[in-house]
Point group: C2
Chain length 462, copies 2
Amino acid sequence: MTHLIAIGGSDAGISAALRARELDPTTDVSVVVADQYPNFSICGIPYYFTGEVAPWQSLAHRTTADLEATGMTLRLNTLATGIDVPGQRLTVRTPDGTSQDLAYDELIVGTGAIPSYAGITGLDDLTPADGVHVIHSMGDTFALDQDLTQRQPASAIIVGAGYVGLEMAEAFTARGMRVTQLQRGPEVLSTLDPELGALVHDELTTHGVDVITNTTVSGIQKTPAGLTVTGVQHGEPFVQSADLVLVVVGVRPNTALLENAGASLGAGGAVVVDEHMHTGLPHVWAAGDGIITHHRLLGPTYLPLGTTAHKQGRIAGENALGGDRKFAGSVGTQVVKVFDLVAARTGLRDHEATAAGYTPSTVTAAADDHKRYYPGAHPIHFRITGDTRDGRLLGAQLVGKRGTEVAKRVDTFATALHTGLTIDQISDLDLSYTPPLGSPWDAVQVAAQTWQTTQRLTPATA
Amino acid sequence: MTHLIAIGGSDAGISAALRARELDPTTDVSVVVADQYPNFSICGIPYYFTGEVAPWQSLAHRTTADLEATGMTLRLNTLATGIDVPGQRLTVRTPDGTSQDLAYDELIVGTGAIPSYAGITGLDDLTPADGVHVIHSMGDTFALDQDLTQRQPASAIIVGAGYVGLEMAEAFTARGMRVTQLQRGPEVLSTLDPELGALVHDELTTHGVDVITNTTVSGIQKTPAGLTVTGVQHGEPFVQSADLVLVVVGVRPNTALLENAGASLGAGGAVVVDEHMHTGLPHVWAAGDGIITHHRLLGPTYLPLGTTAHKQGRIAGENALGGDRKFAGSVGTQVVKVFDLVAARTGLRDHEATAAGYTPSTVTAAADDHKRYYPGAHPIHFRITGDTRDGRLLGAQLVGKRGTEVAKRVDTFATALHTGLTIDQISDLDLSYTPPLGSPWDAVQVAAQTWQTTQRLTPATA
């Protein structure tokens, strides 16, 4: 019987444990979870704050009972503190504060990521009790919930306009709060080209969010005005106050445990693993937001995503039992709903492709989600990136109204990227059509044809 | 300057003409159109009858002015009657009834299909004036519209429960008519497995449609009761009457023109073309519902679909100008909305795969369209077919409520089929996820994993 320990109660650790139990029910599987909330959907937290998800318990992908029913042992409120690699022992701090060593045959580390502070002063001292929040765990969720309930803040500054920042802007707005959203770069949702980010910006503004771009926050302090955020906007000092501040400026890999055990760090300061999810340390595997991601177009990179963590965890669980499955690689597919808009991307943007050695060209396109004569048609806005040398699809970005099936249209591009199709070959795909839901040439094909036409008009002399 | 003539004002002919004008604006392009309604969306006709599309003119993909603005010449109300292949001349009957010969350098035939009568007696004599209808052209549309308006029929029998039959059941129901839908086979929408067709059946019943399966119609006659449909149901005589009868039992290729010119007929009695859309007759190309379809899993077959006609027309237009583009092949992707349900398929069903020499296994699966904790989640029901020898994906069928993005989820399977992925590789795809629109393992991956699990539990000894 193999003794397998997975560290981490989020996507990677639980996926690994589930896979091991699925493949070989004789495996003894323990999952070491730092808090008491295993298998919660961190991506769902914003919808708890909009009021759409209640109670908070329903955010669990599976209940503790569900997990235990698979035969795994959950060690909750237990912190992994050290790995004895040669001795194959994991040291943990148990719920009562004592130290304990656990023997393992195979260890899978899914310690994830932790919120980045982006060098903002004040964040080390100010806490949720002061009205300053991050949102990355159920603990953060409870702290924010308590603050919202007890103080009833009327205004919030959200530092950051990425996925979580935008979702939380919607959540605070839904609760009747005045929201100011600060973004360092020239446009919100900087994972998209600004042409498309501007559509998201408009959606925020339409719903009353005060969006301020080109603003770098350097500090947060308590003042008579509440919480005051200071920084620089276009080279000038920036000062604004609100009742509450939420900092969502990204994450960084939580690598201490593996680093101390001798693992190597790579892209983004994340732990290096091979495509089998092996760390290079004997019997030690890793998965999720703490490790590098193999990207089909970029090679090793750092791109923490829940979908990837699920896949990597599943593979680590399989390989820890002697399997030989490779992580096939991410293509960076992401989607976010912002009020009534959906924004998605997959693959590379123009500058990313250039940096990676491709010779990209990117065009803007638009096409209706379904036949215009049928009620409710709306345009989907695209940016399509392809390689001018061989016509290979490199990336696609889509923004459309909710209901335009943008989230699953990006999947067609993601599948095409995975399999290495050219943009021209997208016209060959046999995609579905009925007038209420599509067009004989689907919107994704119209966008692809726009790229093709542009290339023909612009000989590749540049 | 090349003189190109395209025959047919529907998808294939117009796509060919548009492509030729796009690629070489010096090409002289004429389109011979039997009626005066070029480039109308035949797939949209049911939505004219629901009342969702008005006026009927909006069913045009492009107006006559739009088409002429591309530089093509439209010869409306002009019937192609003969091809002189060696002389490269097309004989037409002009609007004033005279015969005229038109010289061409290249000819593209897109004469499409005509409604099948399935051997039902009475259909040759009874006309729209009697309340008996087919629905395949704008002429049919006007005739049905006039009948509905003038006679205000209270009841209809729809013979057939395929795509158009189901859409017309919805349309008649929306107009307050009592609808009886007769289906020869054991379940409606026989392009799906009965397990999924039953969901469509329930949707029809819920909306008041009287669905009668296992009923073969043999005749229609005028009686004091209105129009009486007779046939056989489970070996017993079947008789039912209504104010109106709509016969939608499929189509057959309209091949007379090419057949008389010496073209070969193949699968389904359709004209044989190669993958370049060439008929084998010098300078004569063909595309659309009148020809065989190259299917990536089946080889040559007959599968008339608008999406395919667009692709084939575009390729014929390109190759007629000296291009070298191959039709990459259909995978039979289809989708239909029936009231609030969407049903889609791509690839092969189990018995089709067996007949084609594969060794299929098909499983049923279900998965929510998005995280259940977020409001509005609904299950999508799947049938997944794969080859037990190599794990290759052979087909997928999906049924889900409108809004579950079934139409674009089937496209992920269609793209996977096009590129020859195994079902296992579908788990490797980097598909998009946000809780309101998906799950970390998308529903299509959950379905794929169900197939994988079933294979592991059932060793391929059968």
